[in-house]
């Protein structure tokens, strides 16, 4: 029975992907892309990767979809070149088909049951200070990757922020109705609770800073869209401190062992767990702030509305 579900899902994903790129209308393409993201989140769940299903649906689909839809209201609606099918070059398609077959052949040539590094992680999980293996790998065994990845987030936030200067602050018009206010007020406490739970559960179950940060950012985006909050600006010190406490704490924890002759990122065994939890808590705020910074203010009066091409 499972084979049918997996087979259908594995078949639908590339087809939906092809459909996303085939549709001519952009908003339809973005909506299909969100559907594709949710379907791939289902795929992660089927592959027993709950952490990734959480992050994919919250960040990869939710926020990216919202960001793309938000951008569409700025860029022209219909793409100037209507050839949605793109340039048709037969030899290019032949080359791509051949290389896809080669990739497929390589996949089938992979050893079918090598457990990878699973048993090794299992053996040394107790030393990492956390019980959930993915968090152990993410923040202790390969914590250096996560440190650089936080730098990637900061750079992207800086780049996106620098490109949307002051002129796009939203002017909260008075006319928003009470319903969204009420719903928003009801939803926010639940959201904070879920985010807090996710960070805490990251210690022994699927969860962690990325998932919690994504959910906080989701709440923030709703606040942004209903004009309750302007986009975070790098010039206000609160935003800077909220953004940078996480990275500074993480760098501090990474560099401290160097002073006592140990190696970079070597967390002391007894309180590695608490250190990881504190760093994850601070990183949650950082990730939420970065994901919020990707959103500009509400868009100005429609750019191409007056019939200009």
């Amino acid at each position: 029975m499972d084979v049918l579900l997996d087979g259908v899902l594995a078949l639908c994903l590339p087809l939906l992907a092809w459909l996303v790129l085939r549709t001519e209308s952009l908003s339809q393409a973005v909506v299909l892309f969100v559907a594709f993201g949710l379907l791939s989140a289902l795929g992660w769940a089927r592959l027993e990767a709950p952490d990734i299903a959480l992050v994919e649906s919250a960040v990869g689909t939710g926020l990216t979809g919202a960001l793309l839809m938000h951008t569409l209201s700025w860029t022209e609606e219909t793409p100037p070149d209507i050839r949605a099918r793109g340039r048709r070059r037969p030899w290019a398609l032949l080359a791509v088909a051949a290389s896809t077959l080669m990739l497929g052949w390589a996949v089938l040539a992979l050893p079918a049951d090598s457990p990878g590094l699973g048993p090794l992680v299992e053996a040394r999980r107790e030393e990492s200070g956390v019980k959930h293996p993915v968090t152990a790998v993410l923040l202790n065994f390969r914590g250096y990757d996560t440190l650089l990845e936080i730098a990637v987030l900061l750079v992207a936030a800086l780049g996106a922020r620098a490109v949307n200067p002051r002129s796009e602050r939203p002017t909260p018009d008075a006319g928003d109705d009470p319903l969204t206010g009420e719903l928003f007020r009801m939803m926010m406490p639940a959201l904070l609770l879920v985010a807090g739970y996710l960070v805490w559960v990251g210690d022994h179950g699927p969860g962690g800073a990325f998932q919690a940060g994504a959910i906080l950012a989701g709440g923030g985006v709703v606040a942004l869209l209903t004009m309750r909050m302007g986009p975070p600006r790098l010039s206000s010190w609160q935003v800077r401190w909220a953004l940078l406490t996480g990275p500074m704490l993480f760098i501090g924890v990474a560099v401290a062992p160097l002073f006592t002759g140990r190696r970079l990122l070597e967390l002391p065994r007894p309180y590695a767990g608490t250190l990881i939890f504190v760093v994850e808590l601070a990183l949650t705020v950082t990730i939420a702030m970065v994901l919020l910074m990707f959103f500009p203010g509400t868009r100005p009066p429609r750019a191409g509305a007056e019939g200009e091409p």
């Binding site: 390589a106 050893p111 650089l148 990845e149 990275p247 970079l264």
Partner: protein, 475 residues
């Protein structure tokens, strides 16, 4: 506390701390914090180079975990020399950038440059395949954010074009790594080198990694994004792109190819890469000759110089490796000095056409001296680093009976001489009337000269870098 391995950690942590703190202090202390962090990182990098030259290859297991589980650093001579290059060439370019960009832009330029510096140092030291992916992505996003720092239309177009070509490159590389992990259950480059055997998975993984990194370096057929991006970006950012950032992906390809893939794949694939490099040399040089914009000439010469670097793959001997690394280092210094000089010319005269250079040699002597010395190193005329590099490559191509690469080297040098002379020819003619030359600060003129002198120094004092390169050379 200050052992060799700890210094490696500091050479990566210091620019990261500098970047985060300069973001935190905001407008007031950005230059101070960035300056202190730069000096500290320069010291750390040079100490690491010194430790490597005296004690040999340094290793560090991050977080105290062993190779397959954790991430390992490995600093051999090649890594140490690259650390030094980044630590010397980078700050010189950023000093020039501070005056070239407006005051508001330097608040974004400095933190981004420190992030890129941290990423390059991390990339050079890392011996873990996935960690190389993360450092490549950090460098790419930092470069894109730098390209658009001026927020003008050409800059945005250049940044978007670079991003949309670099992304598929990283994805191809990541899929190649996924296959390697799938087959050999390790991400550590050293362990991969021991475990890898010839087979469909290895061929496909090698192909993906090579295509991905050739897209980012970029090598000839995949280089279409380079000229528009280099001309659209602000000049100091182009200097950083051509001198350091494009070297990052080449360094990863070199390390993976020479240590992991070369013994397993047959020689024909190396010949193919060499052939593409040769075509890149000819294509880049011919196009550089036909350009009218000053910046495009230097951009196409980058395409040609990258072509030279790919000549190492057909003759995978330690001599060729030393030669190509020497070319990378001297090209970094020479190309940076030329782009910075072009920035000075643009600032002084405001014209970007080749003709606009007429008669400027007398008014901007240091800039044109730097342009000339940089050109000498690009061509490979004796006293410069470029000459040593091409000499080593010539030796290897004769030594391994592959004489055709020698032809490519000589032909390319001839063409390089042509387009460098074409730039300098106009500058010695008398100044045309009516051209007002704004005087640019002395600091701005000395930056390209310092870079050009480094390229020259590499030619005059080659034994220290060459001995450093010999440390940890595999064959």
């Amino acid at each position: 506390m200050m052992g060799g391995t700890a210094l490696m950690a500091w050479s990566v942590a210091l620019p990261l701390i500098g970047a985060v703190l300069s973001l935190l202090v905001g407008r007031a202390g950005v230059r101070l914090v960035a300056g202190v962090a730069s000096v500290a990182t320069l010291i750390a990098s040079s100490l690491v180079a010194w430790e490597v030259s005296t004690q040999g290859v340094l290793r560090q297991q991050l977080g105290g975990w062993g190779a397959p589980l954790g991430i390992e650093w490995r600093a051999d001579g090649l890594a140490a020399l690259m650390l030094l290059t980044i630590a010397v060439v980078g700050p010189l370019i950023s000093v020039h950038a501070l005056d070239h960009l407006g005051d508001r832009e330097d608040r974004e330029f400095l933190p981004l440059w420190l992030f890129i510096w941290c990423a390059l140092n991390a990339l050079v030291l890392s011996a873990d395949a996935f960690n190389l992916y993360v450092t490549l992505e950090l460098t790419t996003l930092g470069a894109v954010s730098l390209i658009v720092v001026r927020r003008d239309l050409p800059g945005l177009d250049a940044g978007l074009r670079y991003l949309l070509f670099a992304l598929p490159g990283s994805l191809c590389y990541l899929l190649g790594i996924a296959f390697l992990y799938g087959a050999y259950a390790t991400l550590d480059v050293g362990m991969l080198a021991q475990r890898v055997q010839s087979g469909p998975v290895t061929w496909v993984a090698a192909g993906l990694v090579t295509v991905g990194l050739c897209l980012k370096t970029p090598l000839f057929p995949l280089h279409v994004w380079l000229p528009p991006t280099y001309t659209g970006a602000p000049t100091p950012v182009t200097a950083l792109l051509s001198a350091l950032i494009s070297k990052g992906s080449f360094y990863v390809l070199l390390r993976l190819w020479l240590e992991v893939f070369a013994p397993v794949l047959d020689a024909e694939v190396g010949q193919l890469l060499g052939l593409l490099g040769a075509v890149a040399v000819l294509w880049g040089s011919v196009l550089a000759l036909s350009q009218t914009q000053l910046k495009r000439v230097v951009a196409y010469s980058s395409v040609a110089q990258i072509g030279y670097m790919f000549l190492v793959f057909p003759m995978a001997t330690s001599g060729a490796r030393a030669g190509v690394i020497y070319l990378v280092v001297s090209h970094a210094a020479a190309k940076a000095s030329m782009f910075v000089a072009v920035g000075n010319i643009h600032q002084a005269v405001g014209i970007t056409e080749l003709g606009g250079v007429q008669g400027l040699a007398y008014r901007m002597p240091f800039t044109f001296l730097a342009m000339a010395l940089g050109g000498i190193s690009l061509i490979g005329i004796p006293p410069s680093g470029g000459f040593i590099a091409k000499w080593l490559l010539l030796n290897e191509s004769i030594g391994t009976q592959q004489w055709w690469w020698a032809l490519v080297l000589l032909g390319g040098s001839l063409l390089a001489a042509a387009y460098v002379f074409r730039i300098l020819r106009g500058s010695f003619l008398p100044l045309p009337p009516g051209v007002t030359v704004r005087s640019i600060p002395l600091g701005n003129e000395l930056a390209p000269l310092a870079l050009a002198l480094i390229a020259l120094l590499l030619g005059l004092v080659p034994w220290f870098p060459l001995d450093l390169l010999a440390v940890g050379a595999s064959r």
